[in-house]
């Protein structure tokens, strides 16, 4: 009660503080007058009486300060005063203020940008309760490493029987769920003609319970919906999907939807913000995994041994198609993992006994189960970008340091100008804390403006980068939406920077002020110490910028090296089309007919000189591999394979080095033929002519008729793989292949043909889902998106730090010249020539720059090993780069030093000697 009363009184006081200040003045004046009267009455002269009264009173200023502190919330009142002062300072010096704020905006904005991406791609946990208890499962095996971050690949897939086995092993220690990777399903509303395509996953009954997600409307799927003995056509949909298609969550419950031809009932809607476990491919619909065969789901699977893909996968132990996610309390984890591993080993042994090929069997037995924390979910982006994003975070932090140093320098040089001001305030009784607070208020105000602008900038730039460089098209995944974490980061960063760049100048200003208060001149007050501080800051800035620029140049060189790679096919004047015939409900046995129609359609476009269709496109993220027997080359050999139309090699420009390419006479009914690449010929038929030899999956029934050059078919990042090509007309009746790509070679600018090709395909096959039509250069540039992200950002950070460091150098040299006006004037009066004076300033610049470059190169050398994994075709200590960067710095800094140097030569000795 008492506190509240005091608080209210203080609040009232705040509202009428100028009035109360006047009242206090009056009261003190009256007090002093009364006291003076009394001393006069005692016989002192009026002056003596006045002095005595003042002495008895104590410090008038202190009393007022204390009074004000007691009256209000001290600091709040001070803050008001500081802010008023700050506004006046800013308004009085708009150029300084603008430069400082723009610099901070860039510094904080760049950091916020990278942090937003880093947070979205690498750091942020899944939006589910207690995400830290989630675990995921994969196997380590002899064939390579699992992509545990990206959540793809066979090492992360398990069969349904294995899932059941592991779930039994986990028992009551936790919960375990199985889920397919999200893939595109067609959804019709009853009576509506057009189909919607949505990303959907099939899940086990415990999926939602394991993640800890309950429905916002209706219910989630349970074990009862996912029973092997009956088909239960129910779906749970996302909040976004219910709003987009079904008119809101309430309306959605109980509606029928036709999913891949199956009529199902919507039983629940997930809460807004839930998107599944893959942060970069969000799901909108979840179905019981028991519907796999009914829904004709045929994606993301790996088979071991003899697989009948037409039969339901549930019962087949050798079809791996499910990712696993578990929830195990971290205290239990160490106890549980051995149980799970033992159970898995048991399952492996059983599966291996069904594999006929001994080599494959051995390799299967070598698999071991890994259980890993999974709080952040899967992210293909994380797998590709986490390294580069951490490197960029380090770089951008250096940029911010350089920014801080710059502003600290600006403030330092201003602190000098203010020494007398501050000195007067100290004489009047201002305390050190109070003055430092005043200076920090200014820094904070700068940081708040810079931080707010930086946050906006970061939000915009991270969106642009996510689209342009990470290659996300359409709506950005939810994980990219700016949230409290980013806000907190930007705010924390702003305050930290304000203290970092503001504190030293503030203390300097106060100590200089104190010296000034003792009556020395401003020039002496500022003294040597502060110049030394400014110089070390500049050297530090230059050194940091050397590191960032070197990194930028190396990474830029890496991008150039990648772009110079010869992929083994002809990349210009090629239009590519990616297709999705499975999702378009095309029966797989019509693939050859579809291929012929598409090729004919593409050929019909004016300017197209040849066209081809294939199972997998080049650099399209599509690959297929299988085990082969080779004539006199052993068996169980894993080769990549592709099915193509006759003009394929000619169209994409993969040169034939021996034998013949496919032609119209290689049909379904003619003898089976294959074309291999040089890698296969070199590795498996060394010293022989492979033409005429045979290969096959179980029997040697296919004749090798040609050899083509190696090509980087999947990504520029990987060396060419052993690849065997088959005519698309000769696909196996038991395993139909889909067609996902059409290529068209044109004789002009391929960009102009893109629209016509798209239109021709749409006219021929109106029901076919066309994923994208573009040029091969676009695909290649997407393939290098990571290198581009890193190179562009690192180079712009480099340019930014170089600019900032040059500005810093310019500022310090200018200030130095201003300080030494008198000295230079004397020199010139004594006969020094302009050139000599200029040399003094340039020499100073060279000393600072030289030190900066040397320190920077040392820094680069020690940072090099972190960079080496991201470089291609260049070593992190590339001498040419280091020398080049040093030269650039020398040139740029000399330019920055030239202006102050010239100003020094124009000093008029007479004017210089007269001042001060």
């Amino acid at each position: 009660m008492r506190h509240i009363r005091s608080l209210l009184s203080r609040l009232r006081a705040l509202a009428r503080s100028p009035q109360m200040d006047r009242d206090l003045d009056d009261e003190i004046a009256a007090h002093l007058a009364e006291a003076t009267d009394e001393y006069v009455a005692r016989g002192l002269s009026p002056e003596e009486a006045r002095m005595a009264a003042l002495r008895r009173f104590g410090g008038v200023v202190q009393t007022k300060e204390e009074y004000r502190e007691a009256r209000s919330f001290g600091w709040l009142d001070d803050l008001g005063q500081d802010l008023r002062l700050t506004r006046r300072t800013f308004a009085g010096n708009p150029a300084f203020t603008l430069v400082a704020i723009v610099t901070l905006t860039l510094g904080i904005g760049a950091n916020t940008t990278i942090f937003t991406l880093l947070d979205a791609v690498v750091l942020k946990p899944l939006p589910v309760p207690a995400a830290r208890d989630l675990v995921t499962f994969y196997e380590n095996g002899p064939e390579g490493i699992a992509d545990a971050a990206g959540g793809t690949g066979r090492y992360l897939r398990f069969s349904y029987p294995r899932f059941i086995l592991l779930r039994q092993a986990l028992d009551s220690h936790g919960s375990l769920a199985a889920v397919t990777r999200s893939s595109r399903f067609s959804v019709h509303l009853p009576g509506a003609p057009e189909a919607h395509f949505v990303q959907a996953q099939m899940v086990s009954g415990g999926y939602f319970a394991t993640l800890g997600i309950s429905a916002s409307r209706g219910r989630v799927l349970t074990d009862d919906d996912v029973r092997v003995d009956r088909v239960s056509p129910v779906v749970v949909i996302s909040d976004g999907f219910s709003n987009r298609i079904l008119g809101g969550a309430d309306a959605a419950i109980g509606q029928s939807v036709i999913v891949n031809g199956l009529t199902a009932i919507v039983v629940g809607v997930t809460p807004p913000g839930f998107f599944g476990m893959w942060t970069d491919s969000e799901s909108d619909m979840w179905l019981p995994l028991t519907l796999q065969s009914v829904l004709r789901y045929d994606n993301n699977t790996s088979g071991y041994g003899r697989v009948d893909s037409a039969k339901p996968w549930l019962a087949q132990d050798n079809v791996a198609w499910l990712n696993l996610v578990g929830r195990v309390p971290s205290s239990e984890l160490r106890r549980v993992v051995p149980l799970l591993q033992a159970a898995n080993q048991h399952g492996i042994a059983e599966l291996a006994s069904t594999i006929p090929n001994p080599r494959n069997r051995q390799s299967m037995l070598a698999h071991t189960l890994v259980v890993e924390p999974f709080s952040r979910g899967f992210s293909g982006l994380r797998a590709r970008f986490s390294g580069p994003l951490f490197a960029l975070t380090a770089m951008v932090a250096l940029v911010l340091l350089v920014t801080c140093a710059n502003i600290a320098n600006l403030l330092l040089s201003r602190a000098a100008g203010r020494a007398r001001d501050v000195g007067i305030r100290i004489s009047l009784g201002a305390t050190t804390g109070r003055l430092v607070r005043q200076c920090l208020t200014e820094s904070l105000a700068l940081a708040v403006f810079g931080g707010a602008a930086g946050l906006l900038f970061g939000e915009w730039a991270s969106g642009v980068l996510a689209r342009q460089v990470l290659g996300i098209s359409g709506e950005l995944p939810l994980v990219f939406s700016p949230d409290a974490r980013v806000l907190a980061f930007a705010a924390g960063l702003s305050v930290t920077t304000a203290v970092v760049f503001g504190l030293a100048p503030a203390l300097r200003a106060v100590s200089a002020g104190r010296t000034a208060a003792l009556g020395t001149t401003q020039r002496q007050a500022m003294g040597h110490a502060s110049m030394k501080g400014m110089r070390s800051l500049v050297v530090g800035q230059l050194a940091l910028s050397v590191v960032v620029v070197c990194a930028g140049v190396l990474l830029g060189q890496t991008l150039v090296n990648f772009m110079r790679i010869d992929p083994g096919f002809s990349t210009d004047r090629l239009v590519t089309v990616s297709l999705d015939p499975i999702d378009s409900q095309y029966p797989a046995d019509q693939t050859p007919a579809l291929a012929r129609r598409l090729v004919a359609a593409a050929r019909g476009v004016p300017g197209v000189t040849s066209a081809a269709a294939s199972r997998c496109g080049l650099i399209a993220g599509c690959s297929s591999s299988s085990g082969f027997r080779l004539e006199n080359g052993g068996e169980g050999i894993s080769l990549y394979q592709n099915w193509v139309t006759p003009d394929y090699f000619q169209t994409v420009g993969i040169p034939l080095v021996g034998g013949r390419a496919f032609n119209e006479r290689d049909t379904e009914h003619s003898a089976r033929v294959a074309v291999i690449n040089e890698s296969i010929a070199r590795r498996y038929f060394p010293g022989q002519n492979p033409i005429g030899l045979r290969l096959g999956s179980s029997q040697l029934d296919t004749e090798i008729v040609g050899v083509v050059r190696d090509a980087r078919t999947q990504t520029l990042h990987e060396m060419p793989v052993p690849m065997v090509y088959f005519p698309i007309d000769q696909q196996r009746p038991d395993r139909h292949t889909a067609l996902t790509n059409v290529d068209a070679r044109v004789d002009g600018d391929p960009r102009r043909a893109v629209g016509a090709v798209r239109e021709a395909i749409r006219r021929t096959e109106p029901d076919l889902l066309v994923g994208g039509v573009g040029t091969m250069s676009q695909r290649l540039s997407r393939d290098l998106s990571r290198e581009r992200l890193v190179a562009y950002l690192a180079l712009s950070f480099g340019a930014l730090t170089l600019l900032l460091a040059s500005l810093g150098l310019y500022g310090v040299l200018s200030y130095g010249v201003a300080r030494r006006t008198q000295e230079i004037g004397v020199r010139m009066a004594l006969g020094a020539r302009g050139a000599e004076v200029m040399l003094i300033v340039l020499g100073q610049s060279a000393t600072l720059t030289g030190l900066g470059i040397v320190l920077g190169l040392l820094g680069t050398v020690s940072a090099a090993r972190y960079l080496s994994t991201m470089l291609y075709g260049i070593t992190p200590l590339d001498p040419i780069t280091l020398v080049l960067v040093s030269i650039v710095f020398a040139v740029v800094t000399t330019c920055a030093a030239y202006l102050p140097a010239r100003r020094a030569t124009r000093i008029d000795p007479i004017v210089a000697l007269r001042c001060e």
Partner: protein
């Protein structure tokens, strides 16, 4: 630079407030200078009171609602702020007087005990 300003003020505020309340109770409404002089006189000029420190103390007492103030005229005809004890202030004075006596009593006993110790 005012030396150890905080230490002294903190110590003084507590007892200074009590002295002000007691003064106002004994004499009735007074303005600042008169209060200061009165306290000095009562303490036999032993208290090195900087008169200025009285004003923040007065403000605090007023914020607590223990005294009230209004502008009035001094004997010499100056416009001065006159402070008076409120009813809440009277009550507060009673409780504080009791507390003060109890506290001094305890401290006194400590001195007595330590004198008794051999």
């Amino acid at each position: 630079m005012p030396p150890d300003k905080h230490d002294r003020n903190e110590v003084l505020y507590g007892s200074l407030g009590l002295m002000v309340l007691k003064t106002l109770e004994a004499i009735g409404p007074l303005h600042g200078y008169r209060i200061a002089r009165r306290i000095e006189q009562i303490s036999g000029n032993q208290l090195a009171l900087k008169q200025g420190t009285l004003y923040p103390a007065l403000l605090k007492l007023e914020q607590m609602g223990w005294i009230s103030s209004k502008w009035s005229e001094s004997d010499s005809g100056r416009r001065v702020k006159v402070y008076a004890l409120t009813r809440a202030g009277r009550r507060q004075l009673q409780t504080e007087a009791v507390q003060w006596q109890r506290a001094t009593g305890i401290v006194e006993r400590f001195f007595r005990i330590s004198e008794d110790m051999p």
